[in-house]
Homo-oligomer: 309 residues x 2
Amino acid sequence: MLKIVVLGSGAGGGVPQWNCNCKVCQLARAGTGEVIPRTQSSIAVSVDGEHWTVFNCSPDIRQQILDTSALWPADDQYRHTPIQSVVLTNADVDHLCGLLILREKQAFSVFATKTVLSVLDENPLFNVLDSQFVSRSALHDHEVTAVGEGLFVEPFLVPGKVALFNEERMLEQENSLQIGEETEHTIGLRIFSAEGAESFFYVPGCAEMTGPLAERLKGAPLVLFDGTVWFDSEMVSGKLGAKTGQRMGHMSMNGEHGSIAAFAPLEVERKVFIHINNSNRVLMEHSDERNAANAAGWEIAYDGMAIEL
Amino acid sequence: MLKIVVLGSGAGGGVPQWNCNCKVCQLARAGTGEVIPRTQSSIAVSVDGEHWTVFNCSPDIRQQILDTSALWPADDQYRHTPIQSVVLTNADVDHLCGLLILREKQAFSVFATKTVLSVLDENPLFNVLDSQFVSRSALHDHEVTAVGEGLFVEPFLVPGKVALFNEERMLEQENSLQIGEETEHTIGLRIFSAEGAESFFYVPGCAEMTGPLAERLKGAPLVLFDGTVWFDSEMVSGKLGAKTGQRMGHMSMNGEHGSIAAFAPLEVERKVFIHINNSNRVLMEHSDERNAANAAGWEIAYDGMAIEL
Protein backbone atom coordinates (compact mmCIF):
# COMPACT_ATOMS: atom_id res chain seq x y z
CA MET A 1 0.00 0.00 0.00
CA LEU A 2 1.10 3.56 -0.68
CA LYS A 3 0.30 6.36 1.76
CA ILE A 4 0.35 9.77 0.14
CA VAL A 5 0.08 13.07 2.01
CA VAL A 6 -0.12 16.40 0.21
CA LEU A 7 2.20 18.64 2.23
CA GLY A 8 1.71 21.69 0.02
CA SER A 9 -0.88 22.05 -2.73
CA GLY A 10 -0.04 25.60 -3.86
CA ALA A 11 2.36 26.67 -6.59
CA GLY A 12 5.33 28.99 -6.01
CA GLY A 13 4.36 31.73 -3.55
CA GLY A 14 1.59 29.66 -1.98
CA VAL A 15 -1.91 30.89 -1.20
CA PRO A 16 -2.06 33.70 -0.26
CA GLN A 17 1.17 34.90 -1.84
CA TRP A 18 3.10 37.41 0.30
CA ASN A 19 2.67 40.36 -2.10
CA CYS A 20 -0.52 39.46 -3.95
CA ASN A 21 -3.89 41.06 -3.48
CA CYS A 22 -5.91 39.20 -6.12
CA LYS A 23 -9.40 37.98 -5.27
CA VAL A 24 -8.16 34.49 -4.35
CA CYS A 25 -5.43 35.81 -2.03
CA GLN A 26 -7.85 38.27 -0.44
CA LEU A 27 -10.26 35.45 0.33
CA ALA A 28 -7.46 33.26 1.67
CA ARG A 29 -6.41 36.06 4.05
CA ALA A 30 -10.00 36.72 5.11
CA GLY A 31 -10.18 33.23 6.61
CA THR A 32 -13.82 32.62 5.68
CA GLY A 33 -13.12 29.17 4.24
CA GLU A 34 -14.04 30.22 0.69
CA VAL A 35 -10.34 29.85 -0.14
CA ILE A 36 -8.31 27.52 2.05
CA PRO A 37 -4.72 28.75 2.53
CA ARG A 38 -2.16 26.50 0.85
CA THR A 39 1.58 26.14 1.28
CA GLN A 40 3.97 25.48 -1.57
CA SER A 41 4.23 22.36 -3.68
CA SER A 42 5.25 19.09 -2.00
CA ILE A 43 3.97 15.59 -1.28
CA ALA A 44 5.19 12.86 1.06
CA VAL A 45 4.88 9.15 0.28
CA SER A 46 5.41 6.06 2.42
CA VAL A 47 4.91 2.34 2.07
CA ASP A 48 5.06 1.41 5.76
CA GLY A 49 3.99 4.69 7.39
CA GLU A 50 7.37 4.89 9.15
CA HIS A 51 9.78 5.77 6.36
CA TRP A 52 8.86 8.70 4.15
CA THR A 53 10.06 10.19 0.91
CA VAL A 54 9.34 13.86 0.25
CA PHE A 55 8.74 14.79 -3.39
CA ASN A 56 9.83 18.38 -3.96
CA CYS A 57 10.98 20.34 -0.98
CA SER A 58 9.36 23.73 -0.65
CA PRO A 59 10.48 26.68 1.47
CA ASP A 60 7.46 25.83 3.65
CA ILE A 61 8.82 22.39 4.58
CA ARG A 62 9.42 23.38 8.22
CA GLN A 63 5.78 24.39 8.67
CA GLN A 64 4.64 21.36 6.65
CA ILE A 65 6.57 18.95 8.89
CA LEU A 66 5.17 20.61 12.02
CA ASP A 67 1.66 20.13 10.59
CA THR A 68 2.24 16.43 9.78
CA SER A 69 2.86 14.32 12.87
CA ALA A 70 3.96 11.32 10.77
CA LEU A 71 7.07 13.35 9.88
CA TRP A 72 8.03 14.20 13.48
CA PRO A 73 11.19 12.67 14.98
CA ALA A 74 10.84 9.40 16.88
CA ASP A 75 10.31 9.71 20.64
CA ASP A 76 13.37 7.74 21.61
CA GLN A 77 16.08 9.68 19.75
CA TYR A 78 17.50 13.15 20.30
CA ARG A 79 17.77 13.90 16.62
CA HIS A 80 15.82 11.87 14.06
CA THR A 81 13.56 12.14 11.05
CA PRO A 82 11.23 9.68 9.33
CA ILE A 83 12.24 11.43 6.06
CA GLN A 84 14.63 9.10 4.23
CA SER A 85 14.88 10.95 0.97
CA VAL A 86 13.88 13.93 -1.12
CA VAL A 87 13.09 13.63 -4.83
CA LEU A 88 13.04 16.75 -7.01
CA THR A 89 11.10 17.06 -10.28
CA ASN A 90 12.69 20.36 -11.28
CA ALA A 91 14.92 23.12 -9.85
CA ASP A 92 12.30 25.80 -9.26
CA VAL A 93 12.78 27.66 -6.00
CA ASP A 94 9.48 26.37 -4.67
CA HIS A 95 10.69 22.78 -5.16
CA LEU A 96 14.32 23.14 -4.14
CA CYS A 97 14.73 25.77 -1.49
CA GLY A 98 13.36 23.64 1.36
CA LEU A 99 16.51 21.54 1.21
CA LEU A 100 18.21 24.43 2.99
CA ILE A 101 15.86 23.90 5.93
CA LEU A 102 16.71 20.19 6.15
CA ARG A 103 20.22 20.94 7.37
CA GLU A 104 21.49 20.01 10.86
CA LYS A 105 23.63 16.98 10.07
CA GLN A 106 20.70 14.69 9.43
CA ALA A 107 21.24 11.80 7.02
CA PHE A 108 18.98 11.53 3.99
CA SER A 109 19.27 11.14 0.22
CA VAL A 110 18.49 13.59 -2.56
CA PHE A 111 17.42 12.29 -5.97
CA ALA A 112 17.08 14.41 -9.12
CA THR A 113 18.26 14.51 -12.72
CA LYS A 114 21.86 15.51 -13.33
CA THR A 115 20.62 18.84 -14.65
CA VAL A 116 18.80 19.60 -11.41
CA LEU A 117 21.62 18.25 -9.22
CA SER A 118 23.99 20.64 -11.01
CA VAL A 119 21.98 23.51 -9.53
CA LEU A 120 22.87 22.25 -6.06
CA ASP A 121 26.54 22.11 -7.09
CA GLU A 122 26.44 25.62 -8.54
CA ASN A 123 25.02 27.16 -5.37
CA PRO A 124 27.47 26.87 -2.42
CA LEU A 125 24.54 27.58 -0.10
CA PHE A 126 23.62 23.90 -0.40
CA ASN A 127 26.88 23.02 1.34
CA VAL A 128 24.83 23.39 4.53
CA LEU A 129 23.80 19.86 3.62
CA ASP A 130 26.98 18.13 4.80
CA SER A 131 27.97 15.54 2.17
CA GLN A 132 28.93 13.20 4.99
CA PHE A 133 25.24 12.91 5.78
CA VAL A 134 23.31 13.88 2.65
CA SER A 135 23.91 11.91 -0.55
CA ARG A 136 22.99 13.19 -4.02
CA SER A 137 22.02 10.61 -6.66
CA ALA A 138 21.08 11.09 -10.30
CA LEU A 139 17.75 9.99 -11.75
CA HIS A 140 17.79 8.95 -15.41
CA ASP A 141 14.97 9.00 -17.91
CA HIS A 142 13.00 5.71 -17.74
CA GLU A 143 15.37 4.16 -15.21
CA VAL A 144 13.55 2.69 -12.23
CA THR A 145 15.26 3.79 -9.01
CA ALA A 146 14.76 2.82 -5.36
CA VAL A 147 14.31 6.08 -3.44
CA GLY A 148 13.14 4.84 -0.06
CA GLU A 149 12.13 1.83 2.05
CA GLY A 150 10.25 -0.27 -0.52
CA LEU A 151 9.57 2.78 -2.68
CA PHE A 152 10.50 3.13 -6.34
CA VAL A 153 10.20 5.80 -9.01
CA GLU A 154 10.35 5.70 -12.77
CA PRO A 155 11.24 9.20 -14.00
CA PHE A 156 10.25 10.45 -17.42
CA LEU A 157 10.93 13.77 -19.15
CA VAL A 158 7.95 16.06 -19.65
CA PRO A 159 7.63 19.34 -21.55
CA GLY A 160 8.83 22.03 -19.18
CA LYS A 161 11.43 24.72 -18.92
CA VAL A 162 14.62 25.79 -17.17
CA ALA A 163 14.26 27.21 -13.65
CA LEU A 164 13.56 30.96 -13.52
CA PHE A 165 16.88 31.95 -11.94
CA ASN A 166 18.82 30.20 -14.71
CA GLU A 167 16.86 31.66 -17.62
CA GLU A 168 19.37 34.40 -18.39
CA ARG A 169 22.30 32.01 -18.50
CA MET A 170 20.32 29.56 -20.61
CA LEU A 171 19.60 32.32 -23.09
CA GLU A 172 23.29 33.18 -23.28
CA GLN A 173 24.44 29.59 -23.67
CA GLU A 174 21.69 28.07 -25.78
CA ASN A 175 20.02 31.11 -27.31
CA SER A 176 16.72 29.52 -26.25
CA LEU A 177 14.76 28.86 -23.07
CA GLN A 178 13.64 25.48 -24.41
CA ILE A 179 10.16 26.22 -23.14
CA GLY A 180 7.88 23.26 -23.68
CA GLU A 181 10.77 21.00 -24.64
CA GLU A 182 11.39 17.64 -22.99
CA THR A 183 14.70 18.01 -21.16
CA GLU A 184 16.10 16.99 -17.80
CA HIS A 185 14.92 20.35 -16.44
CA THR A 186 11.47 18.86 -15.74
CA ILE A 187 10.41 15.31 -15.03
CA GLY A 188 7.29 13.44 -14.07
CA LEU A 189 7.37 10.33 -11.93
CA ARG A 190 5.65 6.98 -11.72
CA ILE A 191 5.76 6.06 -8.04
CA PHE A 192 5.20 2.50 -6.79
CA SER A 193 6.06 0.00 -4.09
CA ALA A 194 6.86 -2.95 -6.35
CA GLU A 195 6.62 -3.79 -10.03
CA GLY A 196 3.16 -5.25 -10.53
CA ALA A 197 1.72 -3.34 -7.56
CA GLU A 198 -0.40 -0.29 -8.23
CA SER A 199 1.45 2.90 -9.06
CA PHE A 200 0.49 6.54 -9.36
CA PHE A 201 1.84 9.47 -11.33
CA TYR A 202 3.16 12.73 -9.93
CA VAL A 203 3.49 15.46 -12.57
CA PRO A 204 3.46 18.86 -10.80
CA GLY A 205 4.81 20.75 -13.83
CA CYS A 206 3.94 19.99 -17.45
CA ALA A 207 3.71 22.37 -20.41
CA GLU A 208 1.87 20.08 -22.82
CA MET A 209 0.11 16.73 -23.06
CA THR A 210 2.11 14.82 -25.64
CA GLY A 211 0.97 11.57 -27.27
CA PRO A 212 3.49 9.42 -25.36
CA LEU A 213 2.58 11.10 -22.04
CA ALA A 214 -1.13 10.46 -22.65
CA GLU A 215 -0.33 6.83 -23.46
CA ARG A 216 1.66 6.52 -20.24
CA LEU A 217 -1.03 7.97 -17.99
CA LYS A 218 -3.90 6.07 -19.59
CA GLY A 219 -5.90 3.98 -17.16
CA ALA A 220 -3.77 4.93 -14.12
CA PRO A 221 -5.45 4.57 -10.73
CA LEU A 222 -4.25 8.04 -9.68
CA VAL A 223 -2.58 11.06 -11.25
CA LEU A 224 -1.49 14.19 -9.36
CA PHE A 225 -1.16 16.77 -12.12
CA ASP A 226 -0.02 20.35 -12.74
CA GLY A 227 -2.91 22.65 -11.81
CA THR A 228 -1.04 25.95 -11.94
CA VAL A 229 -3.45 28.04 -14.01
CA TRP A 230 -7.06 27.81 -15.11
CA PHE A 231 -6.50 29.66 -18.38
CA ASP A 232 -3.26 30.52 -20.09
CA SER A 233 -3.43 34.33 -19.80
CA GLU A 234 -4.89 34.57 -16.28
CA MET A 235 -1.79 36.22 -14.79
CA VAL A 236 -1.87 38.86 -17.53
CA SER A 237 -5.60 39.58 -17.50
CA GLY A 238 -5.59 39.58 -13.70
CA LYS A 239 -2.87 42.25 -13.79
CA LEU A 240 -0.67 39.99 -11.67
CA GLY A 241 2.20 39.53 -14.11
CA ALA A 242 3.31 39.56 -17.72
CA LYS A 243 3.72 35.81 -18.23
CA THR A 244 1.32 33.25 -19.64
CA GLY A 245 1.04 29.78 -18.19
CA GLN A 246 2.90 28.43 -21.23
CA ARG A 247 5.72 30.91 -20.66
CA MET A 248 6.02 29.55 -17.11
CA GLY A 249 6.08 25.97 -18.41
CA HIS A 250 2.56 25.02 -17.36
CA MET A 251 -0.44 23.91 -19.43
CA SER A 252 -3.75 25.37 -18.27
CA MET A 253 -6.67 23.38 -16.89
CA ASN A 254 -9.27 24.86 -19.20
CA GLY A 255 -9.53 25.21 -22.96
CA GLU A 256 -9.02 23.13 -26.06
CA HIS A 257 -5.39 22.34 -25.21
CA GLY A 258 -5.95 22.25 -21.45
CA SER A 259 -5.44 19.36 -19.09
CA ILE A 260 -9.14 18.74 -18.44
CA ALA A 261 -9.71 18.16 -22.16
CA ALA A 262 -6.49 16.18 -22.50
CA PHE A 263 -7.40 13.79 -19.68
CA ALA A 264 -11.01 13.30 -20.78
CA PRO A 265 -10.27 10.18 -22.90
CA LEU A 266 -7.58 8.73 -20.61
CA GLU A 267 -9.79 6.81 -18.17
CA VAL A 268 -7.66 7.78 -15.17
CA GLU A 269 -9.49 6.56 -12.05
CA ARG A 270 -8.64 9.46 -9.76
CA LYS A 271 -7.44 12.85 -11.02
CA VAL A 272 -6.10 15.45 -8.59
CA PHE A 273 -4.83 18.92 -9.44
CA ILE A 274 -1.82 20.03 -7.42
CA HIS A 275 0.72 22.91 -7.68
CA ILE A 276 -2.16 25.38 -7.95
CA ASN A 277 -1.27 29.04 -8.36
CA ASN A 278 -2.93 31.76 -6.26
CA SER A 279 -4.25 33.32 -9.49
CA ASN A 280 -6.37 30.24 -10.22
CA ARG A 281 -10.04 30.71 -9.32
CA VAL A 282 -10.47 26.95 -9.05
CA LEU A 283 -9.20 27.58 -5.50
CA MET A 284 -12.49 29.30 -4.64
CA GLU A 285 -14.71 26.60 -3.15
CA HIS A 286 -17.82 27.74 -5.01
CA SER A 287 -16.47 29.26 -8.22
CA ASP A 288 -17.61 28.28 -11.70
CA GLU A 289 -14.08 27.06 -12.30
CA ARG A 290 -14.21 24.75 -9.25
CA ASN A 291 -17.59 23.42 -10.33
CA ALA A 292 -16.36 22.80 -13.87
CA ALA A 293 -13.25 20.97 -12.67
CA ASN A 294 -15.26 18.82 -10.29
CA ALA A 295 -17.84 18.09 -12.98
CA ALA A 296 -15.01 16.82 -15.17
CA GLY A 297 -13.99 14.42 -12.41
CA TRP A 298 -11.08 16.39 -10.95
CA GLU A 299 -10.31 16.92 -7.26
CA ILE A 300 -8.50 20.03 -6.06
CA ALA A 301 -5.69 19.14 -3.66
CA TYR A 302 -5.42 20.81 -0.26
CA ASP A 303 -2.68 20.73 2.36
CA GLY A 304 -3.00 17.62 4.50
CA MET A 305 -4.99 15.69 1.87
CA ALA A 306 -4.30 12.00 2.47
CA ILE A 307 -4.67 9.32 -0.17
CA GLU A 308 -4.10 5.58 0.20
CA LEU A 309 -3.53 3.42 -2.82
CA MET B 1 8.62 56.73 17.08
CA LEU B 2 9.91 53.29 16.13
CA LYS B 3 7.57 50.34 15.83
CA ILE B 4 9.34 47.02 16.21
CA VAL B 5 7.74 43.62 15.62
CA VAL B 6 9.58 40.39 16.30
CA LEU B 7 8.71 38.22 13.29
CA GLY B 8 10.78 35.25 14.41
CA SER B 9 12.43 34.84 17.81
CA GLY B 10 14.04 31.42 17.29
CA ALA B 11 17.53 30.67 16.01
CA GLY B 12 18.24 28.53 12.93
CA GLY B 13 15.80 25.61 12.78
CA GLY B 14 13.19 27.40 14.86
CA VAL B 15 11.28 25.89 17.78
CA PRO B 16 10.57 23.05 17.42
CA GLN B 17 13.29 22.14 14.95
CA TRP B 18 12.17 19.68 12.28
CA ASN B 19 14.46 16.82 13.39
CA CYS B 20 14.95 17.59 17.09
CA ASN B 21 13.41 15.73 19.96
CA CYS B 22 14.98 17.56 22.91
CA LYS B 23 12.84 18.50 25.90
CA VAL B 24 12.19 22.02 24.57
CA CYS B 25 11.12 20.77 21.12
CA GLN B 26 8.94 18.07 22.66
CA LEU B 27 7.15 20.66 24.76
CA ALA B 28 6.76 22.99 21.76
CA ARG B 29 5.13 20.16 19.78
CA ALA B 30 2.91 19.19 22.70
CA GLY B 31 1.18 22.56 22.49
CA THR B 32 0.67 22.97 26.24
CA GLY B 33 2.02 26.52 26.29
CA GLU B 34 5.06 25.59 28.38
CA VAL B 35 7.15 26.25 25.27
CA ILE B 36 5.68 28.62 22.69
CA PRO B 37 6.64 27.63 19.12
CA ARG B 38 8.96 30.13 17.48
CA THR B 39 9.89 30.74 13.85
CA GLN B 40 13.37 31.71 12.71
CA SER B 41 15.18 34.93 13.41
CA SER B 42 13.78 38.19 12.00
CA ILE B 43 12.38 41.55 13.10
CA ALA B 44 10.45 44.26 11.23
CA VAL B 45 10.82 47.97 11.99
CA SER B 46 8.80 50.98 10.86
CA VAL B 47 8.66 54.67 11.65
CA ASP B 48 5.23 55.42 10.19
CA GLY B 49 3.55 52.00 10.41
CA GLU B 50 3.16 51.94 6.63
CA HIS B 51 6.69 51.38 5.37
CA TRP B 52 8.64 48.52 6.89
CA THR B 53 12.19 47.26 6.88
CA VAL B 54 12.81 43.59 7.63
CA PHE B 55 16.03 42.80 9.48
CA ASN B 56 17.23 39.33 8.49
CA CYS B 57 15.00 37.31 6.25
CA SER B 58 14.36 33.80 7.46
CA PRO B 59 13.02 30.84 5.50
CA ASP B 60 9.82 31.36 7.55
CA ILE B 61 9.21 34.84 6.11
CA ARG B 62 6.13 33.71 4.15
CA GLN B 63 4.46 32.44 7.31
CA GLN B 64 5.69 35.47 9.27
CA ILE B 65 4.13 37.89 6.78
CA LEU B 66 0.84 35.98 6.85
CA ASP B 67 0.85 36.29 10.65
CA THR B 68 1.56 40.05 10.60
CA SER B 69 -1.24 42.06 8.97
CA ALA B 70 0.89 45.23 8.88
CA LEU B 71 2.99 43.47 6.24
CA TRP B 72 0.07 42.51 3.97
CA PRO B 73 -0.30 44.18 0.54
CA ALA B 74 -2.43 47.32 0.35
CA ASP B 75 -6.09 46.78 -0.56
CA ASP B 76 -6.02 48.92 -3.66
CA GLN B 77 -3.17 47.28 -5.58
CA TYR B 78 -2.91 43.89 -7.28
CA ARG B 79 0.67 43.38 -6.21
CA HIS B 80 2.19 45.36 -3.37
CA THR B 81 4.19 45.08 -0.18
CA PRO B 82 4.76 47.45 2.74
CA ILE B 83 8.28 45.95 2.91
CA GLN B 84 10.69 48.51 1.48
CA SER B 85 13.94 46.84 2.35
CA VAL B 86 15.73 43.91 3.91
CA VAL B 87 18.87 44.34 6.01
CA LEU B 88 21.10 41.33 6.71
CA THR B 89 23.44 41.04 9.70
CA ASN B 90 25.20 37.90 8.43
CA ALA B 91 24.88 35.26 5.72
CA ASP B 92 23.56 32.38 7.80
CA VAL B 93 20.84 30.40 6.06
CA ASP B 94 18.31 31.38 8.71
CA HIS B 95 18.95 35.06 7.94
CA LEU B 96 19.35 34.92 4.18
CA CYS B 97 17.24 32.19 2.69
CA GLY B 98 13.94 34.07 3.02
CA LEU B 99 15.07 36.40 0.23
CA LEU B 100 14.23 33.55 -2.12
CA ILE B 101 10.63 33.78 -0.99
CA LEU B 102 10.45 37.53 -1.69
CA ARG B 103 10.65 36.96 -5.43
CA GLU B 104 7.83 37.81 -7.84
CA LYS B 105 9.12 41.00 -9.41
CA GLN B 106 8.48 43.11 -6.34
CA ALA B 107 10.69 46.16 -5.82
CA PHE B 108 12.67 46.41 -2.60
CA SER B 109 16.25 47.01 -1.46
CA VAL B 110 18.73 44.65 0.17
CA PHE B 111 21.40 46.04 2.49
CA ALA B 112 24.35 44.04 3.85
CA THR B 113 28.12 44.20 4.08
CA LYS B 114 30.08 43.48 0.90
CA THR B 115 31.10 40.16 2.39
CA VAL B 116 27.48 39.11 2.86
CA LEU B 117 26.37 40.54 -0.52
CA SER B 118 29.07 38.43 -2.17
CA VAL B 119 27.17 35.35 -0.98
CA LEU B 120 24.18 36.51 -3.03
CA ASP B 121 26.47 36.94 -6.04
CA GLU B 122 28.02 33.52 -5.59
CA ASN B 123 24.68 31.73 -5.53
CA PRO B 124 22.82 32.05 -8.86
CA LEU B 125 19.65 31.02 -7.03
CA PHE B 126 19.33 34.63 -5.89
CA ASN B 127 18.82 35.65 -9.51
CA VAL B 128 15.13 34.97 -8.79
CA LEU B 129 15.36 38.47 -7.34
CA ASP B 130 15.30 40.36 -10.64
CA SER B 131 17.92 43.15 -10.47
CA GLN B 132 15.47 45.41 -12.29
CA PHE B 133 13.38 45.40 -9.13
CA VAL B 134 15.66 44.45 -6.24
CA SER B 135 18.71 46.61 -5.52
CA ARG B 136 21.68 45.46 -3.46
CA SER B 137 23.60 48.08 -1.45
CA ALA B 138 26.66 47.71 0.73
CA LEU B 139 26.74 48.63 4.41
CA HIS B 140 30.05 49.84 5.78
CA ASP B 141 31.35 49.72 9.33
CA HIS B 142 30.24 52.84 11.24
CA GLU B 143 28.65 54.44 8.18
CA VAL B 144 25.09 55.63 8.85
CA THR B 145 22.82 54.50 6.03
CA ALA B 146 19.17 55.24 5.21
CA VAL B 147 17.47 51.88 4.76
CA GLY B 148 13.80 52.87 4.65
CA GLU B 149 11.26 55.68 4.97
CA GLY B 150 12.83 57.77 7.76
CA LEU B 151 14.80 54.79 9.02
CA PHE B 152 18.55 54.68 9.49
CA VAL B 153 21.12 52.13 10.61
CA GLU B 154 24.66 52.42 11.87
CA PRO B 155 26.37 49.07 11.32
CA PHE B 156 29.30 47.91 13.44
CA LEU B 157 31.38 44.74 13.28
CA VAL B 158 30.93 42.28 16.13
CA PRO B 159 32.81 39.09 16.97
CA GLY B 160 31.24 36.36 14.84
CA LYS B 161 32.15 33.86 12.19
CA VAL B 162 31.77 32.93 8.54
CA ALA B 163 28.46 31.30 7.51
CA LEU B 164 28.36 27.52 7.93
CA PHE B 165 28.16 26.71 4.22
CA ASN B 166 31.33 28.72 3.52
CA GLU B 167 33.43 27.26 6.33
CA GLU B 168 35.24 24.75 4.16
CA ARG B 169 36.24 27.36 1.58
CA MET B 170 37.30 29.76 4.31
CA LEU B 171 39.56 27.08 5.78
CA GLU B 172 41.13 26.50 2.37
CA GLN B 173 41.64 30.18 1.63
CA GLU B 174 42.49 31.62 5.05
CA ASN B 175 43.52 28.53 6.99
CA SER B 176 41.23 29.84 9.75
CA LEU B 177 37.52 30.19 10.44
CA GLN B 178 38.10 33.55 12.13
CA ILE B 179 35.71 32.49 14.88
CA GLY B 180 35.17 35.30 17.32
CA GLU B 181 36.94 37.82 15.09
CA GLU B 182 35.39 41.11 14.07
CA THR B 183 34.94 40.89 10.31
CA GLU B 184 32.25 41.84 7.83
CA HIS B 185 30.79 38.36 8.27
CA THR B 186 28.78 39.54 11.26
CA ILE B 187 27.48 42.97 12.18
CA GLY B 188 25.32 44.55 14.81
CA LEU B 189 23.11 47.57 14.11
CA ARG B 190 22.06 50.76 15.80
CA ILE B 191 18.63 51.51 14.38
CA PHE B 192 17.01 54.95 14.61
CA SER B 193 14.63 57.39 12.93
CA ALA B 194 16.81 60.49 13.17
CA GLU B 195 20.08 61.48 14.80
CA GLY B 196 19.18 62.68 18.25
CA ALA B 197 16.02 60.56 18.42
CA GLU B 198 16.10 57.40 20.48
CA SER B 199 17.78 54.41 18.92
CA PHE B 200 17.97 50.73 19.72
CA PHE B 201 20.50 48.00 19.07
CA TYR B 202 19.93 44.79 17.16
CA VAL B 203 22.68 42.21 17.69
CA PRO B 204 21.29 38.74 16.91
CA GLY B 205 24.70 37.10 16.69
CA CYS B 206 27.71 37.96 18.85
CA ALA B 207 30.55 35.72 20.03
CA GLU B 208 31.95 37.99 22.74
CA MET B 209 31.28 41.21 24.64
CA THR B 210 34.27 43.39 23.83
CA GLY B 211 35.12 46.61 25.62
CA PRO B 212 34.11 48.84 22.70
CA LEU B 213 30.84 46.95 22.24
CA ALA B 214 29.99 47.34 25.94
CA GLU B 215 30.77 51.04 25.69
CA ARG B 216 28.49 51.36 22.66
CA LEU B 217 25.53 49.60 24.26
CA LYS B 218 25.84 51.38 27.61
CA GLY B 219 22.68 53.20 28.66
CA ALA B 220 20.73 52.26 25.54
CA PRO B 221 16.94 52.31 25.86
CA LEU B 222 16.65 48.90 24.17
CA VAL B 223 18.94 46.10 23.06
CA LEU B 224 17.80 42.96 21.20
CA PHE B 225 20.67 40.54 21.78
CA ASP B 226 21.92 37.09 20.79
CA GLY B 227 20.16 34.54 23.00
CA THR B 228 21.22 31.40 21.16
CA VAL B 229 22.41 29.24 24.05
CA TRP B 230 22.09 29.26 27.83
CA PHE B 231 25.48 27.63 28.43
CA ASP B 232 28.31 27.08 26.01
CA SER B 233 28.24 23.27 25.84
CA GLU B 234 24.47 22.77 25.92
CA MET B 235 24.33 21.25 22.40
CA VAL B 236 27.03 18.76 23.37
CA SER B 237 25.71 17.77 26.77
CA GLY B 238 22.16 17.59 25.37
CA LYS B 239 23.44 15.11 22.74
CA LEU B 240 22.12 17.44 20.04
CA GLY B 241 25.40 18.21 18.29
CA ALA B 242 29.16 18.45 18.58
CA LYS B 243 29.50 22.22 18.59
CA THR B 244 29.76 24.66 21.45
CA GLY B 245 28.04 28.05 21.34
CA GLN B 246 31.46 29.67 20.82
CA ARG B 247 32.14 27.39 17.85
CA MET B 248 28.85 28.57 16.34
CA GLY B 249 29.81 32.21 16.94
CA HIS B 250 27.49 32.86 19.87
CA MET B 251 28.24 33.84 23.46
CA SER B 252 26.06 32.10 26.04
CA MET B 253 23.56 33.81 28.35
CA ASN B 254 24.89 32.26 31.54
CA GLY B 255 28.30 32.08 33.15
CA GLU B 256 31.20 34.32 33.89
CA HIS B 257 31.69 35.34 30.25
CA GLY B 258 27.99 35.20 29.41
CA SER B 259 25.78 38.03 28.20
CA ILE B 260 23.77 38.33 31.42
CA ALA B 261 26.97 39.05 33.35
CA ALA B 262 28.33 41.28 30.60
CA PHE B 263 25.19 43.44 30.52
CA ALA B 264 24.87 43.75 34.30
CA PRO B 265 26.88 47.00 34.56
CA LEU B 266 25.64 48.52 31.27
CA GLU B 267 22.42 50.15 32.51
CA VAL B 268 20.48 49.18 29.40
CA GLU B 269 16.84 50.10 29.99
CA ARG B 270 15.22 47.18 28.20
CA LYS B 271 17.08 43.95 27.39
CA VAL B 272 15.50 41.33 25.14
CA PHE B 273 16.99 38.00 24.11
CA ILE B 274 16.29 37.02 20.51
CA HIS B 275 17.67 34.34 18.12
CA ILE B 276 17.06 31.68 20.76
CA ASN B 277 18.02 28.13 19.91
CA ASN B 278 15.67 25.21 20.55
CA SER B 279 18.30 23.71 22.88
CA ASN B 280 17.99 26.66 25.28
CA ARG B 281 15.82 25.87 28.31
CA VAL B 282 15.17 29.57 28.80
CA LEU B 283 12.37 28.87 26.29
CA MET B 284 10.49 26.88 28.94
CA GLU B 285 8.11 29.33 30.59
CA HIS B 286 8.80 28.07 34.12
CA SER B 287 12.37 26.80 33.96
CA ASP B 288 15.12 27.86 36.34
CA GLU B 289 16.89 29.38 33.33
CA ARG B 290 13.82 31.53 32.47
CA ASN B 291 13.50 32.65 36.07
CA ALA B 292 17.19 33.54 36.25
CA ALA B 293 17.08 35.53 33.00
CA ASN B 294 13.96 37.39 34.13
CA ALA B 295 15.47 38.08 37.53
CA ALA B 296 18.47 39.66 35.76
CA GLY B 297 16.09 42.00 33.92
CA TRP B 298 15.94 40.16 30.59
CA GLU B 299 12.84 39.51 28.50
CA ILE B 300 12.60 36.49 26.22
CA ALA B 301 11.33 37.45 22.76
CA TYR B 302 8.38 35.63 21.19
CA ASP B 303 6.95 35.79 17.69
CA GLY B 304 4.62 38.76 17.34
CA MET B 305 6.21 40.65 20.25
CA ALA B 306 5.63 44.35 19.55
CA ILE B 307 7.77 47.13 21.01
CA GLU B 308 7.37 50.88 20.55
CA LEU B 309 10.22 53.21 21.21
